[in-house]
Structure formats: structure tokens, C-alpha cells
Symmetry: C2
Subunit: 331 residues, 2 copies
């Protein structure tokens, strides 16, 4: 009745931004991501009749109510329903990176929670089933179920049964591809992704135009991964991120996740390219800049990023593993 799962975060190369169904978390567009090897969440769950209620600890801090607690309990309820269990759970979760700062903590968080909970209750789900389930906790979590590169196919059914991720290629396919993750602030963002998306869909006059461009980006990024065409992958991912932020910037009230240092890093990446050092940036719903590059240039690019004033941390990531059960629990 106890299991521990480790899930890697993933960073979208073609972004997910906006839902057609808020409750089931069904997106308005498909998305493609790279699962990272160095940003992960470890979650231990125990179901027991000793527990009188669900309890949640994240990074050593008890979470007793609020949205975060509600979302975790909702996810536990889905798993309990599948296994016809009424047991309460003790959940402890640890991130090895700052939470809610645009490093996709909810992706790894809900992927780990979903796998640990199903295992603890004795369910044996395949990856597709896990992906459908994880999606209902946090959309992007459905991609973290897989290692390497994954595509979340938006699906069309109202019940969401065809909205889940599939692997495009395993991590071994392209070990030379790197992502330099920079942290410019450790602060939690003021507007979380969920309300940010709703607001953008509701009133950005550019949202529809963004959606119309996504299919083309998906094709290019898919081809970029399969053919290991770095220029195609990088350039498409960069403009895709800029388009997503363009929809946010033009929502009312505006959602501006960029910080001054975000601009500095974006321009530094563009300058590097002019100098022949090939990197492409992507930015999620947050201020952090992630730089795609090839292994041969990674050290130089890391160095350049570190020299930017205000950059607090840089991590060199490659494609990481799927969400998996590990032996060593958190309690």
C-alpha cells in the first residue's frame, strides 16, 4: 500500500496554452516536449486505514488546504475510484528545483503522484492509461510519463479518452541534444499557469492566430527530432515560445512572465547565434530561459549564460527517463 515514484519535469518545445475543457484538462492544441534528466519530483504515497484524512507534504512543508491541496486530493480520488478504495493517503513530495517558477514542477509532480498512487493501490496501468490519468492532474504531466521526447495529442472526444501523450523518440535517440536551464529568480510566479491560460483564451485578440500556427510547428518539431535537425527544431521552438508569450502579453489584464533578466538572456542567445554559437531559447509560463544547444557547444553556452548578471543558477540537462517506481521512499 506504499510506493515511491520519480518523475522528470518536461519542457515543451511546442507549447500547450489554453484548455477546451477546464475540468478534464483537455487542451486546445497538441504539444511536444523533452523530458529532462535533472529536474525531478520524488513522491511517496502510502494508503492506510490508519490515516483519517489525506495529508500532503511538499518540500518538507505541510500543505493543509488551498488549491494545491485540492488538486492533489482530486487526483487521489481519481485513483481511488479506479481501484474502488476508500483509504486515505499520506503523500510526501520533494522537488530538486524551485517550484512554480516556470520549471514545470506541476508536470513532474502530477506524473509522480499518479504513478505512485496507482502502484500503492495495486493498479497496473499502461503508459497510455497513466498519461490520461496524469493529464487530469496537470495537463503537461501527461508528457512526463515518457522519457525522451513526447507528443501530447489533444484528441477530440469530450471525455478526454483520446487526449494523452505518446513517445516520439526515447532519450537514446539524440543524446547530443542539450538544454541549459537558467534560473533568474526563485520566486513563485504571481499568476499561475491555470488562470493565466484561462485569461488568455478568454480575451487575447491574438489567441486564435496562435492556435492556427501550432499544427505547422508540431510538424516541424516532430521532424526536427526524428531527423535530428537541430536548426529546424531550435528555430521552431523559439518562435513557438515567443508566439505563446505574445498571446499572454496581449491578454487583459496582461500576463507578463518575462523579467528584465529574461530579456537580457533572450538577447544574449540571439547574440551568440550571430557569433556562430548555435543556441535557441524557449520560455514557459515563467521568467526562466531554457537554451537548446548541442553537446559540442553546451559548455561555452553555459559559461555565457552564467556571466549574465542576475543569473542565479544554470543546469545542463539532456533528455531524461520516463516516470518510474523507485525503491527508496521518503518515509
Amino acid at each position: 500500500m506504499k510506493a515511491t515514484a520519480l518523475a522528470n519535469s518536461n519542457i515543451a518545445l511546442v507549447k500547450y496554452w489554453g484548455k477546451r475543457d477546464e475540468r478534464l484538462i483537455l487542451p486546445n492544441n497538441s504539444s511536444i516536449s523533452m523530458t529532462l534528466d535533472k529536474l525531478h519530483t520524488t513522491t511517496t504515497i502510502e494508503f492506510s486505514d490508519r490515516y483519517k484524512e489525506d495529508s500532503l507534504k511538499i518540500d518538507g512543508r505541510k500543505v493543509v488546504d488551498g488549491e494545491e491541496f485540492g488538486r492533489a486530493v482530486h487526483q487521489l480520488n481519481l485513483v481511488r475510484k479506479m481501484s474502488q478504495s476508500h483509504l486515505h493517503a499520506r503523500v510526501e513530495s520533494e522537488n530538486n528545483f524551485p517550484k512554480a517558477a516556470g520549471l514545470a514542477s506541476s508536470a513532474s509532480g502530477f506524473a509522480a503522484l499518479t504513478l505512485a498512487a496507482t502502484k500503492a493501490l495495486g493498479l497496473h496501468l499502461d503508459k497510455k492509461e497513466l498519461s490520461v490519468l496524469a493529464r487530469q492532474g496537470s495537463g503537461s504531466a501527461c508528457r512526463s510519463i515518457y522519457g525522451g521526447f513526447a507528443e501530447w495529442q489533444m484528441g477530440t472526444r469530450p471525455d478526454g479518452s483520446d487526449s494523452y501523450a505518446k513517445q516520439i523518440a526515447p532519450k537514446e535517440h539524440w543524446p547530443e541534444l542539450c538544454m541549459v536551464v537558467t534560473v533568474v529568480t526563485q520566486e513563485e510566479k504571481k499568476i499561475k499557469s491555470r488562470p493565466g491560460m484561462s485569461q488568455t483564451v478568454a480575451n487575447s485578440p491574438l489567441y486564435k492566430a496562435w492556435l492556427e500556427t501550432v499544427e505547422g510547428d508540431l510538424e516541424k518539431v516532430r521532424a526536427g527530432i526524428l531527423e535530428k535537425n537541430f536548426q529546424l527544431l531550435g528555430a521552431t521552438a523559439e518562435v513557438n515560445a515567443l508566439k505563446m508569450h505574445a498571446t499572454m502579453h496581449t491578454a487583459t489584464p496582461h500576463i507578463i512572465y518575462w523579467e528584465p533578466r529574461t530579456i537580457t538572456l533572450m538577447k544574449e542567445v540571439m547574440r551568440m547565434r550571430e557569433e556562430g554559437l548555435e543556441g535557441y531559447f524557449t520560455i514557459d509560463g515563467g521568467p526562466q530561459v531554457k537554451i537548446l544547444c548541442l553537446e559540442k557547444d553546451a559548455k561555452k553556452i553555459m559559461k555565457r549564460a552564467r556571466e549574465v548578471k542576475g543569473v542565479q543558477e544554470t543546469m545542463l540537462c539532456q533528455a531524461g527517463e520516463e516516470t518510474k517506481i523507485i525503491e527508496k521512499g521518503l518515509f
Copy 2:
């Protein structure tokens, strides 16, 4: 054969971005601006058979070739053609603010050049004719011909004869409306407006969506001015600017005029609003942030803007006068 004109710069509240005719400077959309009282260009022109060629001095510096010289000579040629003159000209021009840094120096520059040149050659053009002529030097210059608030009507004719500005209201209509102009860098921008526009029209996937929203913004800003509805004017102008920058950000190569301090100021304005201090920002093709506010709040907002690290200068502007002939020449 000699005349001196003073033209005020203007800042668009509904932006002009993109041409349907590059040679005649015919825009893809109409635009509305406020002529400012404190940013101006003074230009003295003398036509004489003593001059063997056209000469141009801007801010004390001789300009002997390049795009800037070519554009000035092209404008002089248009005026010479109208008056059937073959005389060469000596032109001296002075800006009281940094040039090509997103403070609309080409608007005031070409408005002053156009009026001074026509007067020096003895032409008496009405405002509409001056506006059509100034437009061919620099699009936004057609609005600086007027004081107060002006709308550049895009027109539909291929020869551009119906593409000129009209006054919406004189400066006396709304003296309480202020614009705090901040300067975050005095550097000339790397990508000038002209190539920036072409690039955006050529390949931003959001450009078409932006164009579709302009008509609605024009109606709101026009009404905002006529009814002195500050909230309507400000909120519309702010999102209009963000939409324009969204089209630039998503062009390839990206055009990112924002500097780190631009973001800081944008967020400071948003924070002020949350605190009840009503200001709205607008940003042209450049890093400078201009803050619309009412006179009653102008001092407080100036102070807040000045306290932002890296802000080099702040100027409190109101609606300014039309382009006019002044007595005192530069030589």
C-alpha cells in the same frame, strides 16, 4: 528662399506598423497619435544657386551619404518637383531629444523638413497637402503636421492621395492629459522602423490578426479622446502597443525592442494601477516607455518612474502644437 520650421514629435496611441506600398509609404492600417509639446525638431532650409549640391547637418553632425541623406534628398526632390525648382539646398536640423531611439524623431524631422522646404520654395500648401507630402518622407510625419490629436487615415487609392492625417481634436481640448516620456537608453536602435516593419509584415504569423483588431482600437481611442474617457483611451492604447510588439517578437529574425528596463517600467506601471495610481504605458519601435496619465497624478507617476533603476530621463509632456514656421533660423 530660406525658412525654419519647428515640428513636434508625436506618439501613436493606435500604432502604425507595416506598409502596403513601400515607396509611397502607404500603411496597412490607420493610426491615431498625440502630438507632444516637448520633443521637437527645428529645421532650417535654404535653397540657393550658390549651393552645388544638397547638404545636410543633423544635430551638428554633417550627413553626407547613407540612408538618412538619401531620404532627405528624396523629400527635397518631391518639393522641388512641385515648385519646378532645380536649386540645391542647405539643410540643418536639430532635435532636442535623442534620435532614432523610439521617440519618433523621424516624425518631427520629416514634418519640419517638409514645411520648411515648401515655404523656402514659396509654396503655400494646406495641411492636407503637407500631410500627404510629409507622409512620403516618413509615414508618422503626416500626423505631426497637426497639433493635439490626429488620425492618419490609411486611404485606399494606389497613388496615396487619400492617405493623410486629420485632426481629431486640438491640444486645448484635453489639457489634463499628460504623457510621461522616459528614456532608458540613449543608444540608436539596432533595427530601424522601416526594415522592422517589412520583416514583420513578411513573416510574423500574428501580423494578420493584429491588423484585424486595429479598427476596433481606432474607434475606442477616437471615442476616448472625444469623450475625454481616460480609462478607455489608456487601456486601449496599452494593449494596442503590446499587440504591435507581439507581431515584432514573432517575426523571424525576431525584433525585440524591449530592454530589461522596458520590462521593469511596464511592470511598475501595472503595479501603480493596482495601487490606484492610474497610468497606462505605450511603447513605440524602441525601448522607451511612455506613460499616459492625467495631470492630477503626473507628478507622482514621474517620481515613481524616476525611481526605477536605469531610467536616465523623464519628461512630462502634454498635447503640443502643429508644425509651424518660426522666425529664428539655425544659420
